[in-house]
């Protein structure tokens, strides 16, 4: 499996002309294709972009958007910034945590849902907000949250 992800990483880097300044774009695309940024792709990217492994590793670990292991089948991101706090997002996060049996940042035991915090979605006048697999949801209520969790298969 590892050689395949390396190949994918090299192919994506080549699409961006192996430009070191495009590293973040490359990582976004890589994560879009395989769901996370596998450790094994770091040396391949370093080689392709002609930078050190430490530099690639540094970037992968600096940014919250990059995952180091696969996520669940669905990803539910819940906004926990101030505007959503003012509208009671913390109680909703607790509800999601207890329904999924994980703490925020984890993946449910059945591998269906990863629950992640996000700061913030810019939907601050229709708070609290969340995003399920790229679909934004505003004015979140316990009922709406339950519907999202049901949709994600729990």
């Amino acid at each position: 499996m590892a050689p395949q992800t390396e190949k994918t990483a090299r192919a994506i880097a080549a699409e961006f002309g192996n430009r070191p300044d495009a590293l973040i774009e490359i990582l976004h695309k890589l994560q879009g294709e395989i769901g996370y940024v596998p450790e094994a792709t770091v040396p391949a990217l370093a080689d392709a972009l002609n930078v050190s492994r430490a530099e690639v590793h540094g970037v992968v670990t600096f940014y919250h958007a990059f995952r180091h292991k696969p996520a669940g089948r669905h990803v539910l991101k819940m906004c926990r910034a101030e505007a959503c706090q003012a509208m009671g997002c913390e109680a909703l996060v607790e509800r999601a945590e207890s329904r999924l049996g994980v703490s925020c940042g984890g993946t449910s035991a059945d591998g269906r849902v990863t629950l992640e915090p996000i700061y913030c979605l810019g939907l601050c006048a229709t708070a609290p907000s969340a995003m399920l697999d790229g679909r934004v949801v505003g004015r979140l209520t316990p009922a709406k949250l339950d519907a999202l969790l049901k949709e994600a298969g729990t």
Partner: protein
């Protein structure tokens, strides 16, 4: 001499259309509240009945508590209904939306009347957001018909120094938060000679409570493109980057599409609008690091590195992106420029108060009844914004605190509601305007918890380069924990204050430097929230 491109404009978007039009926004906030399903239901019904209507997916008009805001345009007048979530669309259709039956519609419970006359909208001074939400954001024809590219036309008739001069004279200050005069920034890059210069747009709008950049990029993307093109002409830069946070997928898609349209129409590329001047744009996606909203960290991120804050000097205007002279401005600063060029610096300057000139797109958010975008001249009072325009809290409980300026902004109590919206007035009260996000909290908010969150957020988001921010924030969170556990000794409170001073004066950038604002304001204005009963009582 008029370039041929500018002589072809078809004006008159506002003139009555023969056809009835229905507007359903595709802005992320509207979509989050079900706008896609609403638009689909209306389209389905129109197809079934063969009603001669055109459905337009526009940007948001900023009355976000009314989203999805469905508008019916008849005879050039737009009537609003909202909020129309998916469950309300059937009743609207049954009442005669597609027949344009105004008599029946005017008694519908979601009827809002003429949208331009809604108080919230009518009280605004929309310069930057004049067009946002009126049309399909990706219709270049509509953009131009509503005055778009008049600023560029004017800029092309001026010398680079003339453009810089207009921006300087308008009094425009950086809308990202720092409030630095935009004209001076541009002048510095203009005066620095280099083979390559850059324009960078900071669209890393990470502050909670702010969404103006997002709304503008989704609702009027050509405005930002036009503003950046003018900046390029002014300072002699041929390449621009827009750094948009990854949390904004809709804005990223809108700008990429708009850039491609502008390029095809000859408004970007080697020969901008037939002027023989080159300027092109590229969108880059952030990756969830709040600190990249700081300009030098953003530049490092654009170079494909960790978003580490750089020490200044050198200023980005001298050594910015890839070490070249770079103008780096917020979305709203760049988007204000076309108006300034088209209508004149003086027209812009005439709005505002003191050294805060022009208008500010203020964002009302959090626990507020009427949240949305409110663009108005500087000088409006905080209390008027929150209570009169915003209608107080959504929960109906009393307002306890208002955080202005994002996670690094101060918490103001009601006693500060007389503060006018002005950079200096806020600074005088140990607060800041920042990117003009206003987050309202009701009386259930625990300000000690909010202070702790400020430290914690800083600790998580710190780039780690400077010690006050990296260590201070962690120690701060620990100390607030002790206070919250009931150990409110003078020593711990003094320690928090001391840490804040170290962070404020010793940090490299605003992340560490401004985290003390929410912490100290919470301590100063809400000391009762820090007086906790000890969790563990000694056994009697």
């Amino acid at each position: 001499m008029t370039l041929p491109f500018f002589s072809k404009v078809k004006r008159g978007e506002n003139e009555p259309h023969g056809k009835m039009r229905i507007f359903v926004p595709k802005d992320a906030a509207a979509v989050a509240c079900g706008a896609d399903a609403v638009a689909a239901a209306i389209a389905r019904s129109a197809a079934q009945t063969g009603a001669p209507v055109e459905i337009v997916r526009n940007g948001s008009r900023g009355l976000l508590w009314l989203e999805p805001l469905v508008e019916l345009e008849m005879g050039g007048i737009r009537y609003g209904f909202g909020p129309i979530e998916a469950d309300a669309v059937a009743s609207l259709l049954n009442t005669g939306l597609l027949r344009g039956d105004l008599k029946a519609l005017s008694v519908h419970p979601k009827w809002l009347g003429v949208v331009n006359k809604i108080d919230y909208f009518a009280r605004q001074t929309r310069l930057t957001f004049a067009r946002c939400g009126l049309t399909d954001p990706l219709s270049l024809e509509s953009y131009r018909a509503l005055g778009g590219y008049k600023g560029l036309e004017k800029a092309l008739s001026l010398s680079p120094a003339g453009i810089v001069d207009a921006v300087a004279k308008s009094g425009l200050r950086g809308r990202g938060g720092a409030g630095f005069p935009t004209g001076i920034k541009w002048q510095t890059v203009h005066d620095t000679s280099a083979a390559q210069k850059y324009i960078v747009c900071n669209a890393d709008e990470g502050d909670s409570g702010t969404f103006a950049d997002r709304m503008l990029m989704e609702g009027d993307p050509f405005l930002l493109i036009e503003g950046m093109t003018i900046a390029g002409l002014a300072v002699g830069a041929t390449k621009g980057f827009i750094y948009i946070r990854s949390e904004y997928p809709h804005a990223i898609a809108a700008l990429k599409a708009a850039i491609s349209i502008a390029r095809k129409s000859g408004l970007l590329g080697a020969d901008v609008a037939g002027s023989k001047r080159a300027f092109d744009l590229e969108v880059r996606t952030g990756a969830g690091a709040y600190v990249c909203g700081e300009e030098t960290a953003l530049l490092d991120s654009l170079e494909g590195k960790r978003g580490m804050v750089r020490a200044k000097p050198p200023l980005p205007a001298h050594k910015g992106l890839f070490g070249r002279p770079t103008v780096i401005n917020n979305v709203l600063s760049l988007a204000a420029v076309p108006f300034i060029l088209a209508e004149g610096a003086k027209t812009y300057l005439d709005y505002g108060m003191g050294r805060s000139r022009g208008t500010m797109p203020i964002q009302l958010a959090g626990n507020i009844k009427r949240g949305g975008l409110f663009e108005t001249a500087f000088g409006i009072c905080l209390g008027e914004l929150v209570e009169d325009i915003g209608g107080g809290t959504a929960s109906g409980r009393p307002v306890k605190a208002v955080q202005v300026g994002g996670p690094l902004g101060a918490y103001f109590p009601r006693s500060h509601f007389d503060t006018p919206f002005d950079y200096e007035a806020f600074a005088k009260r140990d607060g800041l305007i920042g990117h003009a996000g206003v987050v309202v909290f009701d009386d259930t908010a625990d300000m000690a918890k909010q202070a702790r969150f400020a430290f914690e957020f800083c600790a998580v988001e710190s780039c780690g380069k400077c010690t006050p921010c990296r260590i201070g924030s962690t120690r701060g969170a620990e100390t607030v924990d002790k206070i919250m556990a009931g150990d409110a000794s003078e020593a711990n409170l003094a320690l928090v204050t001391d840490l804040c001073n170290t962070m404020k004066f010793g940090s490299l950038c605003a992340l560490g430097g401004f985290t003390p604002y929410p912490v100290l304001s919470a301590l100063t204005h809400f000391p009762e929230d820090f007086r906790r009963t000890p969790r563990l009582q000694a056994a009697e």
